[in-house]
Symmetry: C2
Subunit: 146 residues, 2 copies
């Protein structure tokens, strides 16, 4: 059981955007370099995060990607719900399961996934970068090593 | 985010085994017919559930598949943990994520998955078949319609 890579890297992209020093903006190339993923994958993620208002693309000199909202306003559960195409923990309709009308397994799994989401609801992007200096050092160390 | 089909159908197979009337045993054909999945998939699941002691295969006349433990002794979280090859909600090592040593995202997602598991820990297979008559009727109605 995993988040899709799409959601996973959306969260990491937001994390990296939140780590940018004041006034600096992020490039797609920096994201691909940090996480070693393809440019096309990053482009799709950045575009979707932009549509959802989590990121903003600033054009022109000094332009680039920046957060579309304050980190405190970006709730982790909202990002997961927005990015995951499917939060149905099991697939009861394809093929249709004949036990569905009375199935308690589905109820139990739904209760479990709700508990998962409830934990995520209690965190924002700001919580993920409260150790900003430490995270920035990890980014920079790697750049020196590269 | 979904359970693997392997885990999903393992749970459904246990459910069906728990619904068998006293003294009757389940066949692989009955499982494939109920859930409309391939025989090879069911065989793999049944074999693994057997290795784990959740199912027992009784040979000879009147033989077939039966539960290896009482439904009350089969905890849902244990089945999910045993069957899911990967409960790491995100993949931090492939490719290796440079933020990992200080990453709070991983911590938050681990806390969330633990909440998911904690809910499942509070249920056994017996809880899933407490409405046994209703579930049996759904199985039987469908057999008549087939």
């Amino acid at each position: 059981m995993q988040l899709t890579r799409y959601t996973d890297y959306a969260l990491r992209t937001l994390l990296q955007a939140a780590l940018m020093p004041e006034g600096e903006r992020l490039s797609v190339a920096q994201i691909t370099a940090t996480y070693d993923i393809s440019r096309s994958h990053v482009m799709k993620i950045v575009q979707r995060l932009g549509q959802l208002g989590y990121l903003r693309n600033v054009r022109g000199k000094g332009g680039g990607i920046e957060l579309g909202k304050a980190p405190e306003e970006i709730n982790i559960s909202a990002v997961v719900i927005d990015m995951e195409s499917n939060l149905q923990i099991v697939e009861c309709n394809s093929p249709y399961c004949r036990l569905q009308p009375a199935c308690k397994l589905k109820q139990v799994l739904t209760e479990a996934i709700n508990a998962f989401i409830t934990v995520l609801e209690s965190y924002t992007l700001a919580d993920l970068v409260e150790n900003k200096d430490e995270l920035l050092q990890l980014l920079t160390l790697d750049e020196i090593a590269a």
